[in-house]
Subunit: 382 residues, 2 copies
Amino acid sequence: MNINKFVMPEVIFGHGSRDQVGESCLRLGAKKVLIVSDRGVMNEGWLENVIENCKKAGLLFATFYDITTNPKDFEVEKGKEQYIAHECDAVIGVGGGSAIDTAKAIAILVTNGGSIHDYEGVDKINEPLPPMVMIATTAGSGSEVSQFSVIVDSKNKKKMTIVSKSLVPDIAIVDPQTLTTKSPQLTASTGLDVLTHAIEAYVSIAATPLTDVQAKNAIQLVAEHLRPSVASKINMESKYHMAMASLQAGLAFSNAILGAVHAMSHAIGGRFPLLHGEVNAVLLPHVMEFNFLAVPKKFSTIAELCGESVQSLSNIEAGKKAIDYIKQLSLDIGAPQRLSEMGLTDEGISEMSQVALEDACMITNPRDIKIEDVIQLYRQAL
Amino acid sequence: MNINKFVMPEVIFGHGSRDQVGESCLRLGAKKVLIVSDRGVMNEGWLENVIENCKKAGLLFATFYDITTNPKDFEVEKGKEQYIAHECDAVIGVGGGSAIDTAKAIAILVTNGGSIHDYEGVDKINEPLPPMVMIATTAGSGSEVSQFSVIVDSKNKKKMTIVSKSLVPDIAIVDPQTLTTKSPQLTASTGLDVLTHAIEAYVSIAATPLTDVQAKNAIQLVAEHLRPSVASKINMESKYHMAMASLQAGLAFSNAILGAVHAMSHAIGGRFPLLHGEVNAVLLPHVMEFNFLAVPKKFSTIAELCGESVQSLSNIEAGKKAIDYIKQLSLDIGAPQRLSEMGLTDEGISEMSQVALEDACMITNPRDIKIEDVIQLYRQAL
């Protein structure tokens, strides 16, 4: 019964809610916004959509979409220069984790100065950030509501996790319609990322009753709606529920932090240009098997939330059903099953294990973990 | 599938969390705070506690606790004068709904000017409010997280409901330890107020998936922990869960609004110095019986959340169990069962019915309601 803290942005959720972006920026006092996005989002037309809406609201704007999957320190630096050159006074992020995390990192630099490396870790941001409005288009990262930004340190080839209440955006806009342009592959990997957020937050040693309600609801929604969402681009009901699952999982992990899956996935993402969600999807069942010992009762609840019948089963038996369920889900939606499918080999595993062990997300993993454990988990997932 | 909005303050929750009040004010840039409370809270020692903590943090302060149950417009006016005379720059509320609603109303006047009557209704506040930190000590009102303030119009003898996102405090502190000094009577009435918030928010026509998770969890917590909490002043587990229930019900109704119970209760509270929670407790089962027609499936879920076995029952049968459950709960904890026990008579019912019909909370009631219905409901509850 420790003291729990919970923060979240104002949320605007629903079909067509992206059309509130201009008005939202005005409400925060913005006059000229930097719109941060990526080429994928631009090609799907959502960036233009946002630009049109900002124009209609009478906002001036500049754009920056020169970013890659797993955004890099030097990309953040470029974005900052863009913000300064155009004398912007607010930031909009449009996209998945890459665009939104970059938008947050730019916001840090424009009022706090220095290099993005200075802010790695917890609570390193001192000056208030400019107004931030984030539009989530992937139902995956949860970054639109979280106090996290993850940026690659390109020299040291590792992901830096930046955690601060200041990184919670002012307004998060979640519009399920933006999910209709995602490929089945991206729907699957981002959906499994949502599940990973929800499960890691739920079993985190920093979980609280406030994060549990969000995490549990997100698990239930993913179990019910991820398969239909992968199956059809136009099944709006499933898009709606997956967007909600992503939002709730984001609220849960933002406040309960994550665990070994994310620590290990960050170490991979710092070196290889892989989809974060796919890497998580491969690691999740292995880490769950490792963590099972620490939280059997919670695993039993996860099985129940996934719709498994657990009556007359012990927590141990029921908990194992949760792991089986998630393996099957991942198979059903065609997610990769092994790291080797993505081109990883045994090379570099010991360095990555060291990096993973030092990741901020490892602190809240429910089972104590040593370097040998991390190495073994990577090997199991190869 | 409309567009849903959800706002909440930063929350600090847990035993001893009241000791973060000074630091919280400093974080918001406060130098001199007006601490708004009431005599009950002062006599229980919590006000002194807060003052000590503010002193320790190096804050200057003034106090204002000249308020009554169902706080009045002229009390708000006095508080405003106190704030200005002492050149304060932030507001702390310590107490239940009365203290916190007064603190919010003072905050409105000091930056927006005019009279508190000018702000009745939705979205009438234009200027930003000073920093607000609220400490909830009753596990009842939920005002520490809500966008509501309810103030009595003393001339017209009615409660004015003021609704605005600006009324969401910056930081809400919820410390279950402050519940240990409450009488069983106050524990019962505030606990039934929590249940009323949760149920009205859940069946509200403005309910969303984001408010539903909070409302449902709150109903479950009240069903499990209100009886033990009334039974023992020192049962800390029950205090903890009731404080959480209050917080979650507050988040639910702040964003989904309420219904006929609150509309009718406000009309009573504007005329008679009665405990808001007790009036709600009497009205709740009558309004539930009236509303049943509109949302039988939700009523069935309420029964399930209360721990009733609903397997093999129809929604209609299960929903009726919810109403029976709540009547029994109210009896078990010794809450008043009739308005006449509190001194009400048939006199004034038709005027009150008109006032109730015009209350902002009536708009979201799930069943259409006419003046004759309101009159009949009041009579049934007499």
